[in-house]
């Protein structure tokens, strides 16, 4: 191929040019590095929106003041052959008959739509079978005057005591066909300041996060089974409690007092120290002061998912 004619003269790179180029690249690197290391931890400070559980949607952990509202939207669905009925999704699919977690005094607001083809009505009962005992105010339409397809309605329900309630379709037989879900009502919670008057008394507790060498069992202060592991705490309602935790382990931990040890989102009284998405690194420690709320049995746990099941949980009893 013809590619042999020269365009004279041949210019060659000079040391100055190379030096200049290196200086430019070095400058860019230095500036970049400055920003990079300066912001190091900021870039991973925000947990993804999609990752947060429903309870954690409110940034400050769900302090259940009476009058806290829980929005629940449900829809009646039916299988093609109308034999199986359910809320939101047919059995086996995700979000089928979702459990509702609430605490005594919370206001649950139902927004129910009939996305099926037949007629349905809504209600909350404590009976574990049948369609009787519907709690006043919780019902939407009725078996005699049901919701027609694509109609919807609202109702409210304020649980008055702990236990399990059921939200059902009050049309006879529909509950048996699967249109039933649970409402699990936890102990009454309160922000302490509003319902419980401060007693002035204050306690200090110190915990260390400890891990077994194989990381499989975890505990506070000592591994489960050893002396002084997960000590039980008793305080009076209204006492101000100061907790200082130190991560003496190798992995990541965070602290919180919860109503349900399985559910690291049920933190009460703003008692959290750091969080699962931004936990205490090994050697770090943190503290928090909060006022113990209504009497009852609570748990202090490591709010990193799984850790409480692995042993990082102790009783926190308010008298």
């Amino acid at each position: 191929m013809s590619h042999t004619e020269h365009i004279e003269p041949i210019f060659r790179t000079s040391p100055e040019r190379t030096a200049k180029m290196m200086a430019i690249m070095l400058g860019i690197s230095v500036v970049g590095a400055a920003i990079f290391f300066g912001m190091w931890d900021y870039w991973i400070s925000a947990p993804p929106v999609a990752g947060l559980g429903p309870a954690a949607q409110q940034p400050t952990a769900p302090v259940a003041v009476t009058g806290k509202e829980i929005q629940v939207s449900l829809s009646f669905v039916e299988s093609a052959d109308f034999r199986t009925l359910a809320f939101n999704a047919l059995p086996g699919e995700p979000d089928n008959n979702p459990d509702i977690h609430a605490n005594v005094g919370d206001k649950i607001i139902f927004d129910v739509v009939n996305s099926g083809k037949s007629f349905h009505a809504f209600g909350v009962t404590q009976e574990d079978e049948g369609f009787t005992g519907i709690i006043a105010g919780s019902e939407i339409a009725s078996a005699s005057n049901p919701l027609r397809p694509n109609q919807s309605g609202q109702s409210e329900f304020i649980p008055t005591k702990e236990g399990t309630y059921y939200y059902i379709c009050t049309v006879p037989g529909h509950r048996e066909q699967g249109m039933v879900g649970q409402i699990i009502v936890g102990p009454k919670q309160s922000s302490g300041t509003q319902t419980v008057k401060p007693t002035g008394a204050s306690h200090n507790f110190e915990f260390n996060f400890v891990e077994s060498s194989d990381f499989r069992t975890l505990g506070f202060n000592a591994l489960p089974g050893e002396a002084g592991s997960n000590p039980e705490i008793r305080v009076k309602a209204g006492d101000s409690v100061t907790v200082k935790v130190t991560n003496t382990g190798k992995s990541f931990h965070s602290f919180g007092v919860v109503t349900n040890p399985e559910d690291f989102n049920s933190i009460v009284w703003n008692s959290a120290i750091s969080s699962a998405s931004n936990p205490l690194k090994p050697g770090q420690s943190g503290d928090v002061t909060f006022t113990a709320g209504a009497t009852g049995t609570y748990y202090y746990i490591c709010t990193v998912p799984g850790h409480s099941i692995q042993g990082m949980q102790g009783k926190f009893i308010v008298e």
Binding site: P94, D214, F215, R216, S251, F252, P305, G306, I309, Q310
Partner: protein, 145 residues
């Protein structure tokens, strides 16, 4: 035509023939072995395996649960029904060449027969976050007695 130094092409054709033959052999062998190990014995016991950040939960047929530890009987066939609570993990027992992804929202199965008693490491093979490196468990194979 561009300048080339190739004179005859038959060596290349033979070469390609050999390569293809080898590939066919590899494919056949692999297909055969896969067919054998995919066949689950009817009497295999089902173990429900659940992965979550960052530990394994095992549920036996009788409903007993174990966390991070799995106790099995020597010489019995077991079928793992593997799923995940949060992100994708991969259930792996290197010594028994058992490996299957734990995918949230679906159940994957793999079966094996523990032939030797002893302790074998269980680990997570799919990157799953902070403590992925330590999402480990132990398989205890005990004599049927």
């Amino acid at each position: 035509m561009v300048k080339v130094s190739g004179h005859s092409t038959w060596p290349e054709w033979i070469y390609i023939g050999v390569v293809v033959a080898l590939l066919v052999w590899v494919g056949a062998e692999a297909w055969n072995v896969e067919r054998l190990i995919e066949h689950v014995p009817a009497d295999a016991q089902i173990i429900k395996v659940t992965g979550q950040q960052w530990f394994w939960t095992f549920e036996h047929a009788d409903g007993t649960k174990e966390i991070g530890e799995l106790h099995l009987q020597k010489g019995k066939p077991y079928k793992f029904e593997i799923t995940s609570k949060d992100v994708i993990h991969s259930f792996n027992i290197p010594d028994y060449v058992v490996l299957q992804d734990a995918v949230p929202g679906r159940i994957n199965t793999v079966w094996f027969v523990p032939k030797d008693t002893g302790e074998f490491p269980i680990q997570c093979r799919e990157y799953c976050g902070l403590i992925h490196y330590n999402m480990r468990g132990t398989l205890y194979v005990e004599d049927t007695a």
